[in-house]
């Protein structure tokens, strides 16, 4: 992990945020604020929440800035790939097979004579779509199931915990080979569905644990003593205090889903040609690694940078949301 730059202002933000979670720290900072003191008569104060504190931290974190820029660029080219490439990923010329870089093809041509640069750019769309949608599905399904199990406990909790155990026992790649090999549809949806099916137990465990931690807090008991309904307890008091770990794990998982999509496509059960995916290209290029290594290296490099960017983003978000880890 890169060192956090030390700045006095940042230190105050840090201890202030510590107040939200590691509560002892805020005492020293706020003790001198006497009630009715001069600070209250100043200009209108901007409320400082955990999220605004986290954002202040993130803005100063070079890891976050770098990974966010990479991700923004990826999102941009997956929405508008035509902006940086004029060709089509499906226009191939066997005469140019395995050729090195040339005009309009800075990354050269692959075994089928397709422009590696164009295909790498277009492959980002598949990866980002699969990563984002699978993560959304997993996060929503997992946190709802895990959160409810953690909140209501008893037999719901036992049922969910045993079910997640069963899902954890399924090997991901083997399960993908078995389940996806019977699917004929050549779209991203079966892959996303498979990831949600196997991915939700991970998030549900995290959500369950953090809901159980949050619901034991006195402020939840206080709200209950006021007669608050279960939905109010969950939405107003528990969810906002339990969501941070889910966001962190989901962000890191996003990178692994992108890698998993490439793996499944490489194995021939994810997306299949003529779809464009980094996994397909890596698979197609690997027999020619000695003659045309560029056809393998560019999609592999793009994949590695993408996965790394998401994992680093998740790390940065975790550092910002959980000051205890510093």
């Amino acid at each position: 992990m890169p060192e956090q730059p030390y700045e006095p202002e940042g230190a105050i933000a840090g201890t202030g945020m510590g107040g939200a979670m590691d509560l002892g720290a805020s005492e020293a900072v706020t003790l001198e604020k006497t009630p009715g003191g001069p600070d209250g008569t100043g200009p209108a104060e901007k409320p400082r929440s955990l999220w605004s504190d986290a954002w202040r931290d993130l803005r100063r974190n070079p890891v976050f800035i770098l990974s966010a820029l990479v991700i923004l660029f990826l999102v941009f080219i997956s929405l508008w790939p035509g902006a940086i490439t004029s060709g089509s990923p499906l226009t191939c010329d066997l005469a140019k097979a395995q050729q090195g870089s040339g005009p309009g093809a800075p990354f050269g041509y692959n075994g089928q004579g397709c422009n590696v640069y164009t295909r790498t750019v277009y492959g980002a769309r598949t990866s980002v779509t699969v990563g984002v949608l699978a993560t959304l599905g997993v996060a929503v399904l997992g946190s709802v199931l895990g959160g409810l199990a953690g909140f209501f406990g008893r037999s719901w909790d036992s049922l969910l915990s045993r079910t997640t155990d069963i899902f954890f026992a399924i090997p991901v790649v083997l399960g993908g080979l078995v389940l996806l090999s019977v699917v004929t549809s050549n779209t991203v949806w079966p892959v996303i569905g498979f990831m949600v099916l196997l991915g939700w137990p991970q998030i549900s465990r995290i959500a369950r644990g953090s809901v159980i931690t949050a619901k034991q807090n006195d402020y939840v008991q206080a709200a209950r003593a006021l007669g608050a309904s279960n939905s109010r307890l969950l939405l107003r008091h528990i969810a906002p205090n339990a969501v941070a770990p889910v966001i962190v794990v989901a962000t890191i998982a996003l990178g692994t889903y992108i890698a998993l999509e490439a793996t499944l496509s490489y194995l021939g059960v994810g997306l299949k040609p003529p779809s464009v995916s980094w996994g397909i290209d890596i698979s197609a290029a690997s027999p020619y690694i000695r003659n045309a290594p560029h056809a393998l290296l560019w999609p592999s490099g793009a994949l590695a940078i993408t996965v790394l960017a998401f994992i680093m983003l998740g790390d940065a978000v975790r550092d910002a949301l959980d000051p205890k880890l510093r």
Binding site: G18, L23, G24, R48, Y219, A222, A223, A225, H237, N241
Partner: protein
């Protein structure tokens, strides 16, 4: 002490312990057993923690009742049972003539606004994601109460009442110190103009210099607004300062209850004697210590397997065979004033004067102390 005959209970103990004109809250035989599950492969109930076992208590309108005892004696559980945060195993809770022992959330709704709670830990009792304004406003939101002038105005009034700057409306709890946070908790409890506040060790998590502020605030609130308190604490000095009537708990039971003067100056139960003798004294009499000294040995027995008969007998210097077989009832024994009830077969003299010789149940501990004194 053969002259200390135990009188039969002439009236319901709850009635007898309430000299206050009008009773607000009555608790009879309140019991909470937390089940323990174990066993393999099929989990089943293997026992129960008898956290509260037959507590009788009553609180009059505007009265402050102190609940004292060692850690783990069931004080906080009793408080949480009264606010119905926990479901009682047995017994009866009556609030203003209404049985709320097993009332559902809907049935409780009208009572909720009248019984409020102040929590021990000011750090975990405020939602870190909500502003002070939102926190204090939420009781009114939940109960659909729209005070004259709007909720925000009421919140600002409450902040002022508890001695906080109303301008701090939009701040988050972590921007406040422990004492200020506890004031926010008090303001939240006052938001609905309650008639009864359960204060669960409201100052024990605070710095000693802040404790007085919060206690004085609570006292001011009690005097000005006429709110009844159940004040749970293990600090006997603060309870003495705050409560008109005091109940002493030991291992899930009330062992002695009475007005402030009876408990502090004329205690009868050996446990109350021991508890009072443990209060540190600021004025040290150089010539002779004028108070009795009692040093108990060991820990409070496990509430999973409490001793038979009198629960204090395992640490009591007056215990006899009768104590193991027969549970002493909570009654007014001879020599007690009205409303002063004691659950003991062999009560002590009603005094806290030095008894000439210290009661030492743990000689090793006493030897250590003597060594340290030398």
């Amino acid at each position: 002490m053969s002259d200390n005959l135990t009188l039969p209970a002439q009236q319901g103990s709850a009635d007898a312990s309430s000299p206050s004109p009008e009773t607000l809250l009555t608790v009879e035989g309140l019991t909470k057993h937390f089940p323990i599950y174990g066993g393999f492969p099929i989990r089943r109930k293997v026992g129960a923690v008898q956290a509260v076992d037959g507590v009788d208590l009553s609180v009059g309108v505007g009265e402050s009742v102190g609940l004292v005892g060692e850690s783990g004696c069931g004080k906080s559980t009793t408080g949480r049972l009264i606010t119905r945060l926990l479901e009682p195993t047995a017994g009866r809770i009556t609030y203003a003539g209404q049985d709320i022992t097993h009332a559902t959330r809907r049935q409780l709704a009208p009572v909720r606004s009248e019984i409020q709670m102040i929590f021990q830990d000011p750090y975990s009792s405020l939602n870190p994601r909500q502003t002070v304004g939102t926190i204090i406003k939420s009781p009114m939101e939940v109960n659909g109460i729209e005070p004259a002038g709007g909720r925000e105005k009421k919140v600002r009034e409450l902040l002022e009442l508890v001695g906080l700057n109303p301008e701090h409306y939009n701040r988050f709890p972590h921007e406040f110190s422990g004492g200020q946070r506890q004031r926010i908790g008090v303001a939240r409890a006052l938001a609905l103009n309650p008639k009864l506040i359960i204060a669960d060790e409201p100052v024990s998590a605070l710095d000693v210099s802040i404790q007085a502020q919060v206690v004085n605030l609570l006292q001011k609130v009690q005097d000005e607004l006429g709110i009844a308190f159940v004040f749970i604490a293990h600090d006997l000095a603060i309870v003495r300062h705050f409560s008109q009537r005091i109940a002493v708990m030991y291992l899930g039971k009330v062992v002695e209850v009475g007005d402030r003067d009876s408990i502090y100056n004329r205690p009868r139960h050996p446990y109350t004697h021991a508890l009072l003798s443990a209060v540190p004294e600021v004025e040290i009499d150089a010539e002779e210590d004028s108070r009795e000294r009692i040093r108990l040995s060991g820990d409070v027995p496990s509430p999973i397997h409490p001793p038979s008969g009198c629960r204090f007998r395992t640490r009591c210097w007056k215990a006899q065979d009768k104590c193991a077989t027969e549970e002493p009832p909570l009654v007014q024994i001879s020599g007690n004033r009205g409303g002063h009830l004691t659950a003991c077969h062999f009560p002590e003299d009603p005094t806290t004067e030095d008894r000439g010789e210290d009661i030492v149940l743990d000689p090793a501990l006493a030897a250590l102390e003597d060594d340290a004194a030398k």
